[in-house]
């Protein structure tokens, strides 16, 4: 059976991290499997974990009373879900729901925060990786807001 450090090494989020750091982080991780419909996280609940998705799809959702759950984004193999564990008040801002069977590595945020405080060099590396993910998600959200496919090009003359 594959060990947690090996799983971490294979995940794109931890690509090129030093083996010693992976071993250090692995102490906060465990293997987790979710069935379709299970929640990995629920809005306003304590954000004690984050997830490295190894296989499967996770819907990042919010809820509107008049429309029910609204999926904002889907995450897939190789993606990361969750950064609410990094900042107070350590609560989830969105739901995370498994859309099919999800295999993930669940990392304990509190454990990792303590390790990062004890080892600031590792903390900086982790923050760099999360900052990159957050930037990519922000950019994607901005493009999504542009509603580009609905936009008729005003100068096209109509070529389609």
């Amino acid at each position: 059976m594959q060990k947690i450090p090996d799983m971490l090494r294979e995940h794109p989020f931890f690509r090129d991290l030093a083996p010693a750091d992976l071993e250090f982080i692995a102490g906060c991780g465990e293997n987790a499997i979710y069935a379709a419909g299970d929640y990995l996280a629920q809005e306003n609940e304590p954000a004690d974990y984050f997830f490295l998705i190894r296989k499967g799809r996770v819907a990042v959702e919010t809820y509107r009373p008049d429309r029910g759950p609204i999926c904002l984004q889907t995450l897939h193999d190789g993606d990361v879900f969750g950064w609410s564990w990094l900042f107070p008040p350590y609560q989830w801002t969105f739901d995370g729901r498994a859309m099919d069977q999800v295999h993930a590595i669940r990392l304990n945020g509190k454990c990792l925060r303590e390790k990062c405080e004890a080892e600031p060099r590792l903390g900086f590396q982790l923050m760099q990786r999360f900052a990159r993910i957050a930037t990519e998600r922000l950019q994607a959200a901005r493009i999504q807001l542009l509603d580009v496919y609905a936009q008729p090009s005003p100068l096209v003359g109509d070529r389609q």
């Binding site: 819907a59 999926c71 904002l72 984004q73 889907t74 897939h76 190789g78 993606d79 990519e136 994607a140 493009i143 999504q144 542009l146 509603d147 580009v148 496919y149 609905a150 936009q151 008729p152 090009s153 100068l155 096209v156 003359g157 109509d158 070529r159 389609q160």
Partner: protein
């Protein structure tokens, strides 16, 4: 050029406001076209619009055009029904460089209506008109119901690697939710072998090009179909001038390496 008369054989609603016309010539002297070229479609009493071919190359001169209603002429075309006449001038433009795609890992990136000019490329690939080592289609749309050629997309899943992404969807949707650059970013590219054909809203193409470049795909291997205000389609009126190029005559397909400096000028 005088328009040739065509008749509508079949009309298909893709989704509200977007439809496909299947046309057959009234005379048997129509020209063959290359995937990526366009025709000027003449709705009598309303005017002409440039519309890309969205169907297969045919021996009998029949044509397929997929059109979104967004102006007076396209609204007039939308009102036409089976048996009605349409004037056709063309084909115009250069088309996709299929010969460059031969032997490559072909990445086709389409956004919204941008799948229409790329469908003839997919037909060419599927009937082995061009031999590629790998074919991937990334298709982004607003919603699942606002995708073109939905029954064909189902079939294409068996024949090529298809990644679909929509901005909004409900539970039954099996593809990605989010922007098309997300799955593109997650994809692995053999940068030296990749050739990319991109067509969609210009802003989408801009972000896709950025993602392709980050993956190491060279500028010379990225081709995009541009849209500008084309009127005469023969490079005389100047409406579609774009830097030193006329989109109707020198394009609409351009190699990104050749037009990068014009692509990034905001006023053009």
């Amino acid at each position: 050029m005088i328009p040739q008369m065509y008749r509508i054989e079949h009309r298909q609603e893709e989704y509200p406001g977007t439809f496909t016309l299947h046309l057959s010539p009234e005379q048997d002297d129509s020209d063959a076209f290359r995937p990526g070229q366009f025709n000027m479609l003449y709705a009598f009493g309303a005017g002409e619009v440039p519309i890309s071919m969205s169907g297969p190359e045919s021996r009998d001169g029949s044509l397929v055009h997929t059109i979104r209603t967004q102006g007076q002429v396209t609204a007039a075309l939308e009102r036409l029904r089976r048996g009605d006449q349409v004037g056709v001038r063309g084909p115009f433009g250069n088309g996709w460089p299929l010969e460059i795609a031969a032997g490559s890992d072909l990445v086709i990136i389409a956004g919204g209506l941008g799948l229409a000019p790329l469908r003839p490329v997919i037909y060419s690939v599927l009937r082995s008109g061009i031999q590629t080592s790998r074919v991937r289609l990334f298709y982004g749309a607003r919603r699942p119901a606002e995708r073109l050629f939905q029954s064909e997309l189902e079939r294409w899943m068996q024949a090529l690697e298809l990644v679909q992404s929509v901005d909004h969807a409900v539970d039954e949707w099996q593809g990605h939710i989010g922007v098309i650059t997300d799955p593109l970013q997650a994809a692995e590219f053999d940068a030296a072998r990749t050739v990319a054909f991109v067509c969609g809203p210009e802003i989408m193409m801009r972000f896709c090009i950025r993602t392709l470049r980050q993956a190491g795909v060279p500028e010379s291997a990225i081709f995009l179909s541009m849209e500008r205000n084309m009127k005469c389609a023969t490079g005389h009126c100047g409406h579609c001038q774009w830097g030193p190029n006329f989109v109707c005559k020198d394009g609409p397909v351009f190699c990104y390496g050749d037009i990068r400096q014009w692509f990034n000028i905001r006023a053009l």
